[in-house]
């Protein structure tokens, strides 16, 4: 009985390892990320060259694809518009999983902040700037709660704002590269 259980567990561990390796290798050079695994450079889609867009259209967008350049990789991420600017969050930053999963955010913080966002098939060249100003965070927290946390309740907004202040969640503005 113990041998059978051990064999089943062994097979499941083998399948898990094969899954992680296969999906990571399959996606690392792809044009964009999969649901969970980072992708490569975003190459398809029109490259936006116009004036700063009205980012309120992102209220109807659940996730975007965000490419960071150093090192080149892309991932799906939430997006929030607030006060005419557009932001992306990165959660779990102080958790064990976050330290493994969110390496792109640490790399941006260290200077690799050039990015390309693909939203509804259009690519936007941006630069990521971490936001800590409580007045800005408050607006972003409201949109984050409204879109992703079940509603803009005072409790949800306060929890998100605290998460940012504590460093568990990082918020980056996707600023235009010319600024």
């Amino acid at each position: 009985m113990i041998k059978i259980i051990s064999q089943i567990v062994g097979l499941l561990v083998l399948l898990l390892a094969a899954t992680l390796i296969t999906l990571k290798l399959k996606n690392q050079g792809a044009d964009g990320p999969s649901v969970l695994f980072p992708g490569g450079k975003l190459v398809s889609g029109e490259l936006y060259r116009g004036t700063e867009p009205d980012w309120s259209f992102t209220d109807d967008v659940f996730t975007i694809e965000l490419q960071t350049n150093d090192p080149m990789s892309s991932r799906r991420i939430f997006v929030m518009e607030s006060q005419g600017k557009v932001y992306v969050p990165s959660g779990y930053m102080r958790s064990f999983l976050g330290k493994l999963w969110k390496d792109w955010a640490f790399e941006v913080e260290e200077g690799g902040n050039l990015a390309v966002a693909r939203i509804n098939g259009v690519r936007y060249e941006r630069v990521l700037v971490r936001v800590m100003d409580p007045s800005v965070v408050q607006g972003v927290a409201k949109k984050l709660a409204q879109k992703y946390a079940g509603g803009e309740t005072p409790e949800a907004v306060a929890q998100i704002a605290k998460s940012v202040a504590d460093g568990d969640t990082w918020v980056f503005e996707m600023a235009p590269r010319s600024s």
């Binding site: 059978i4 064999q7 097979l11 399948l15 094969a18 296969t22 399959k26 649901v35 969970l36 779990y92």
Partner: protein, 44 residues
């Protein structure tokens, strides 16, 4: 199950599994979605 049979079983199942992940997009998406759900509910 003896070790030789077990090794063959593991090899065969893993091969089919990997090929499914590589070439059957809905299967890969199902597996990834399940992993994401697990991580989302387990992260602290």
């Amino acid at each position: 199950m003896n070790n030789r049979t077990y090794a063959k079983l593991c090899g065969g199942v893993t091969l089919v599994w990997v090929l499914g992940l590589m070439f059957v997009a809905p299967f890969a998406e199902l597996i990834e979605g399940s992993m994401l759900l697990f991580l989302s509910t387990s992260a602290r």
